[in-house]
Subunit: 173 residues, 2 copies
DNA sequence: AAAGTTAACTTGCAAAATGCAATCTAATTT
DNA sequence: AAATTAGATTGCATTTTGCAAGTTAACTTT
């Protein structure tokens, strides 16, 4: 999409500004890969399962770096390889990713097991803390396994009746 | 962007599935307009301040409707007009929008006053509850005013030092 | 009632972005 | 030395977005 340049079209709204950075199909997927799956290399992102093209992958990685969301480090074990890592600013997107995940698992047919989502929904702080801890310690182990595509039935988009999504039920104690 | 068709490219990952729905520059902005600003009409969305083209606006509204995030109702006061409204599924995106807003206000230069963001960050549940209440009651009044574009200084992208974003500090009580 | 304005799009076309697959180069492995 | 691989880049086709004009019916003003 032809984004207006920042100087010409910068709205003051934070949501709009954020979407200027990551309002596309791929950027948050890469953040997810780094944050949740512990991916670090071009090759790993490429093989994430969603079929990103290499030119788009290279472009998005550059953009995440330019936005201060990710940074690059040479990989010690292979001179051809670069390790991408979320910055502090990048890991601060964890609540965004978590809320997207929960929303989607609740309202769309996904491969995420209900029990896992229940757990995460009810222990947001613990999930976020663990995500952060792994980031600090550069732990590349995935938090979640890759979920398989849901069974190929398109009738009934929701896996189970949507929960009543009253924010009151999620109030901070 | 040329999205793979759902049948061909559906990843099981909730984040990926969500981004298939709203992973673009404009969709979540429209959700914001409905949710936060109380906008309902084509004209209001068009004049939101970010310069969306009418063909894209029409397209995105259709897509949000098709995804079950928004619905249309005829406007009683004008036979030409349609009111768009978030569905239950749509209002359930409030935590996503709120986290994006907070992240952006913390890490980018936006027009959002610090005090407002502080408030929202520390009272997430109350903000979400209010958002939901307004949705239930079809209250079209904006929760937040449109924020003005930040002053045109590009040096020092952050309005103030980034807060230490330890998820621990945001644990659910 | 006629003329002017407006709401909600649609349309035609140019520009930009994305997607596909081949290609390239240096590092690594066989 | 030959083969393979990591991380891109490239050429081109396709799709999407953006711009601005156009359309039609509903509404407002004259």
């Amino acid at each position: 999409m032809a984004r207006k340049t920042n100087a010409e079209r910068r709205s003051g709204c934070p949501v709009s500004i954020a979407l200027e950075i990551f309002g596309d199909r791929w950027s948050l997927l890469l953040v997810r890969d780094m944050m949740v799956r512990g991916y670090r290399t071009f090759r790993e992102f490429q093989r994430s399962g969603e079929g990103i093209a290499t030119n788009i992958l290279a472009d998005r990685l550059q953009k995440l770096e330019a936005a201060g969301i990710a940074e690059r480090e040479p990989a010690a074990e292979d001179g051809r390889s670069t390790h991408y890592r979320l910055t502090e600013k990048g890991i601060a997107l964890a609540p965004v990713l978590l809320e997207i995940l929960i929303w989607s698992a609740r309202h769309e047919q996904t491969g995420a097991p209900c029990a896992v989502i229940d757990q995460m929904e009810q222990n947001r702080a613990a999930v976020l803390a663990e995500t952060y801890r792994r980031w600090v310690e550069r732990d590349p182990r995935p938090i979640l396994p890759p979920f398989e595509a849901p069974a190929d039935k398109r009738a009934g988009k929701e896996k189970h009746p949507a929960r009543k999504n009253s924010p009151k039920g999620r109030a901070k104690p």
